[in-house]
């Protein structure tokens, strides 16, 4: 009984730590700035407003900006790029996720189950990329992408994000694949399956939860990546959400509530993905766990 209470308290504390900041985002986007900036703090004295979301999606200027006469206050149009940026970021992230799950798992399987010359070197080579800081990678990456004629393309982002995520993906999956008892795979081998079949039929299904973990990792890293998306971009079609948000954070025509509405919108694709995926994972974990 005591354990149950402890669990609930811990769950609540965890929830608070993780979710309260996000709740703040929601609050910040619907509470008028005048309340947020009030001192002494009186946040809830004014009615909440959806004016900022309205502006982002329809361009309707919030009434707060109306001045005496026909002139109106300065309001940025940049924040209206947020929906499109969501699309760009999400599509790049999904492709990166696919690359990691497919090619990363293949590479990891070869490290986990095969023995060959040059194994250590190949493995080190894959992980090496993550050792150099971004400042040292920026110029070479830029030059490579330009030489390939891929400046300002989503493909460039997919490639760069992939090389940033693969080291960990491969590492994680290698460890995980090795933790699967070899006997299971040997049983399949006796039945006449080659490594490829074993991989598809046995290993992957058993690794559902870590494949999902790896996929989510790749998605998230790509989705929130700023630096390379910024230097390799340059136009609307490759402007990712982090780049837009960074520009908004230093834009003088952005009200706090406006910025927060942009942040909240950022969370939506991830929320959708997570809801979709977690249901699948729950099945996988319950099922997969009982295998052992």
């Amino acid at each position: 009984m005591g354990k149950k209470i402890f669990v609930y308290i811990a769950a609540f504390a965890l929830l608070a730590f993780t979710v309260v900041p996000l709740l703040l985002v929601l609050l910040g986007s619907i509470i008028p700035d005048a309340s947020i900036l009030s001192f002494p703090p009186r946040w809830f004295t004014r009615k909440p407003t959806l004016a900022y979301y309205d502006y982002v999606f329809t361009g309707k200027i919030p009434t707060a900006y109306e001045l005496r006469g026909a002139e109106r206050g300065m309001i940025t149009e940049e924040v209206r790029q947020v929906p499109r940026g969501m699309g760009v970021s999400a599509s790049v992230a999904v492709m990166v996720m696919a690359v990691n799950m497919v090619f990363g798992s293949m590479a990891a399987y070869s490290f986990a189950r095969l023995r060959f010359r040059g194994k250590a070197m190949t493995f080190s080579g894959i992980v090496m990329c993550r050792l150099l800081p971004a400042a040292a990678l920026a110029v070479p990456f830029y030059l490579i992408v330009q030489a390939l004629g891929l400046l300002d393309t989503k493909l460039a982002l997919v490639l760069v994000h992939s090389i940033l995520t693969l080291p960990f993906t491969v590492l994680i999956l290698t460890v995980f694949f090795r933790s699967i008892p070899v006997e299971i795979e040997e049983a399949a081998k006796i039945d006449g399956a080659n490594p490829w079949r074993t991989f598809w039929r046995i290993t992957l299904p058993l690794s559902a939860s870590s494949m999902v973990a790896v996929g989510l990792f790749a998605f998230m890293l790509s989705y929130s990546e700023f630096l390379y998306s910024n230097i390799l971009g340059g136009s609307e079609k490759t402007r990712t959400l982090p780049v837009i948000m960074a520009a908004l954070s230093t834009n003088t025509d952005v009200a706090w509530g406006m910025f927060m509405s942009g942040v909240f919108l950022t969370l939506i694709p991830t929320l959708v993905l997570v809801i979709l995926v977690w249901n699948f994972v729950v099945e996988g974990i319950i099922f997969g766990g009982s295998k052992f």
């Binding site: 900036l37 300065m74 910024n230 340059g234 003088t252």
Partner: protein
């Protein structure tokens, strides 16, 4: 007949190719402040100049300089770009931007119509490199309502600022000054230099020798003033960026700040809680000078090499930065951006649009006392080196003398290595 048909077909196929060949495409790189306005301006330009197509590439302001460095290093096609006063010498020395004056001497006619500090910022080695996109001042801004309510007159010198702050602090305002404190930003140094100009001081003498390490110099004294304000009198709160200073000022807990003048428009913007409470006064100090700077359109040496691109680039730059100053006027009226074009200072439309947040005559008066910063090939590098030191001095983690001495030493090193 058959041959005639073939020639006809060929001609029909070639015509668009020919028309296309006549069209020059310019790559225009900007930082994306008000991108939709830029795109609209370009659309209008393309309408008046059907043989020129302009592609815009934009980057965010904080990474603009670094991305331009990458573009130049990678030799990415770039024809026209936004340039800044602190980058001109290094870009020019690296051979990336071309002097307009060398190719289009007619640009000289704009010199007398340009505010002196802006003109100086756009000139390198005696040649004019660009025409202004916008130009502004770093001014002393304050909450006039707070001062009025507490019966305090607007400060004239930095002693006045201190006294006013102490009075406000005693009256309940814990940190009367909100200071934009962020060593990663170039304007962290510029705001300080603007204050030095207010005192009538300079950072360097005519021979570019450092003055600020002399304890009797106004520069030294101002740094000390800042340190005392933070550490001794505790009248300063930090804002990590001008947008955050804007919000902090709008909570009514601060009275004074030093920022880019366009921030006055932002603080007085219609949606802000304390809209209308903010004003600007001449920079405190004996001489009331301040820093003026210009951002401008530049042509790259790449473009300069090709006559077609070069001529198209000039047309573009003149349309945007010169001519009747229509584009500059639009920025001023719609967005409150300052300008270098002297004729606009007397323009009634601008004056009316600005009346919402500033009295044009005040701006004019301060602009008359404005100087540009010292721009050398190594200023950007030195600024990057000096700013963390400044951050330490202001916060009281180092003595002012230590910081100034280190700064002077580094300056001399750079001058030795890169000066002519």
């Amino acid at each position: 007949m058959k041959r005639f048909v073939w020639i006809l077909v060929l001609a029909i196929l070639l015509i668009p190719a020919l028309a296309f060949a006549q069209k020059v495409t310019l790559e225009f790189v900007v930082w994306n402040y008000s991108l939709e306005t830029i795109q609209d301006n370009i659309a209008q330009f393309q309408k008046s100049n059907p043989d020129i197509k302009v592609n815009v590439k934009d980057y965010t302001w904080p990474t603009y300089h670094d991305t331009m460095v990458l573009r130049f290093k990678g030799k990415t096609k770039t024809d026209i770009m936004y340039n800044g006063e602190d980058w001109l010498p290094e870009f020019a020395a690296a051979g990336w931007v071309a002097a307009l004056e060398d190719y289009f001497p007619e640009v000289r006619k704009y010199k007398e119509k340009t505010a002196p500090y802006a003109l100086a910022d756009m000139t390198y080695n005696g040649k004019l490199y660009g025409l202004s996109y916008y130009a502004d001042l770093i001014t002393f801004q304050y909450n006039k309502k707070i001062l009025k309510d507490k019966g305090i007159t607007a400060p004239n010198t930095w002693d006045d600022v201190l006294n006013a702050s102490l009075k406000l602090k005693a009256g309940g305002l814990e940190f009367p000054i909100c200071y934009e404190y962020n060593e990663t930003l170039p304007n962290f140094l510029q705001a300080y230099i603007s204050q030095v100009y207010g005192r009538g001081g300079t950072m360097f003498d005519a021979k570019l020798a450092p003055q600020f390490n002399n304890p009797n110099s106004e520069a030294f004294k101002q740094m000390q003033w800042l340190q005392d304000a933070v550490v001794k009198h505790k009248i300063v709160a930090y804002g990590s960026h001008e947008t955050k200073v804007d919000l902090a000022m709008n909570t009514g807990q601060h009275a004074f700040t030093v920022m880019y003048n366009y921030m006055l428009a932002a603080m007085n913007n219609a949606d802000k809680p304390l809209s209308g409470d903010f004003d600007m006064i001449p920079m405190p100090g004996a001489k009331h000078g301040c820093l003026g700077f210009a951002k401008f359109y530049c042509m790259t040496t790449q473009a300069a090499k090709d006559p077609a691109r070069r001529n198209a680039a000039w047309k573009f730059i003149e349309a945007f930065g010169g001519g009747d100053y229509n584009v500059a006027k639009r920025w001023a009226v719609e967005k409150g951006l300052g300008f270098a074009a002297l004729p606009l200072m007397d323009d009634p439309d601008v004056k009316k649009a600005w009346a919402n947040w500033i009295d044009m005559d005040k701006f004019k008066a301060q602009a008359k006392l404005a100087f540009n910063g010292t721009q050398t090939e190594w200023m950007g590098m030195w600024s990057g080196f000096f700013r963390p030191l400044m951050a330490k001095a202001i916060n009281g983690d180092s003595t002012v003398k230590e910081v100034m001495d280190q700064g002077a030493l580094k300056w001399s090193e750079y001058k030795e290595l890169l000066g002519k």
